[in-house]
């Protein structure tokens, strides 16, 4: 009986200390890329690369594609958090983000459900659906960020970067 109690105490203590020292959710592995890594379409004009990120100073919406690095330890289908950060400076247009992929061995690709900022202005953190990434493993992932056009009084909208994590 005494031995059982000792064993029980040992196990409980071990469990409790492991729980205390075990990595928490905040320890989830994460990666991110600066918005400066994102690319506008080839024929784009008035796109500024600034310390604050990539800015759309043009008179139309611009699609930016941001790279998502992937390897066998950090697969897109395991991504549990995907946040795109920046600033929306247009009061009637909005920022659109999507998680997309390019087919691995064919011409084409797919994009998932979008996440959009509101029509107000300010810093944004958007988390588009990752369902497409979870579906098919072999295709090459990227994030699409569509920034609204330059606003004559409020200024230009920005993408600062993309942050993603696995549990």
């Amino acid at each position: 009986m005494y031995r059982h109690k000792l064993l029980g105490l040992f196990t409980v203590s071990m469990g409790m200390s492991a729980a205390i020292f075990a990595p928490s959710l905040a320890d989830a592995a994460w990666r991110r890329v600066s918005g400066l890594s994102c690319e506008p379409p080839a024929n784009s004009t008035a796109i500024y690369k600034l310390a604050s990120g990539l800015q759309n100073n043009s008179t139309g919406w611009v699609d930016f594609v941001c790279p998502i690095q992937e390897d066998s330890d950090f697969k897109k289908e395991s991504v549990s958090v995907l946040n795109i950060h920046g600033e929306d400076r247009h009061n009637s247009q909005y920022v659109i983000t999507k998680a997309c992929f390019t087919y691995f061995d064919s011409t084409g690709g797919e994009c998932g459900d979008p996440a959009m900022s509101g029509t107000g202005t300010g810093q944004y953190q958007l988390s588009p659906s990752r369902a497409k990434w979870q579906l098919i493993t072999s295709h090459f992932p990227y994030v699409l960020v569509v920034l609204p056009q330059y606003h004559s009084t409020l200024g230009a909208s920005t993408v600062r970067g993309v942050w993603w994590a696995i549990p």
Binding site: L6, T11, G109
Partner: protein, 216 residues
Amino acid sequence: MQSARLAGFVGAVIAGALSGVVVTIVLRDPQRSPIEPQAHAAPEAASKRLPSSDPRVQKLAREQQLLAQRLAQLEDAGTDDRAGSREPNAEPLPDPVAERAAVIERHRQWRETHAAEAKDPAWAAAKNEKAAAELGQAAERNGFKFVGVDCRTTWCRAEFEWPSYADASRTYSAVLHSEMSGCQSGIYLEPPPDPTVPYRAPAMYDCTSDRAGPSE
């Protein structure tokens, strides 16, 4: 006797706690640490050098030499077999032929699903109008033709025509990235027999979640 039992309990608690800490630290993945790795501090022991004649130092030197030889052998083996070499536990790379077949099948199924869908007149009319405006603008901006769009209940199929397959390969992302008000999008460009003639391809839009969400 009582104090011995108490000491036993305390000992079990301390031993358990220590084991838990040790197990956790050993199993912890250093990549996942939220704390940036610290620079390796020079241990105090480093300054207390042992003489090279010390048998322990000589033994370590021999072991180091053996390890260096073994590493060189492994590196040589890796260079000789560079094309086919993989980590022993590496996952197999996907098969391009199978993957392409899967993509073609996926798009075929989407087209069938769309074709079999009944038309929700109210939603389809509004969606067709909005899609035509968005996709028409995207096509015009990128130098290709928007042929038409057919929205049913949850799916829309839009047709586009490019001056050539090469043009389609360059600008198809305008179709893929088009806002399409909350729909998922997909496009596959099947290689044509003659890549120089005008090239037509459909893009598929799955608007299931758009319909489930708040109205536009």
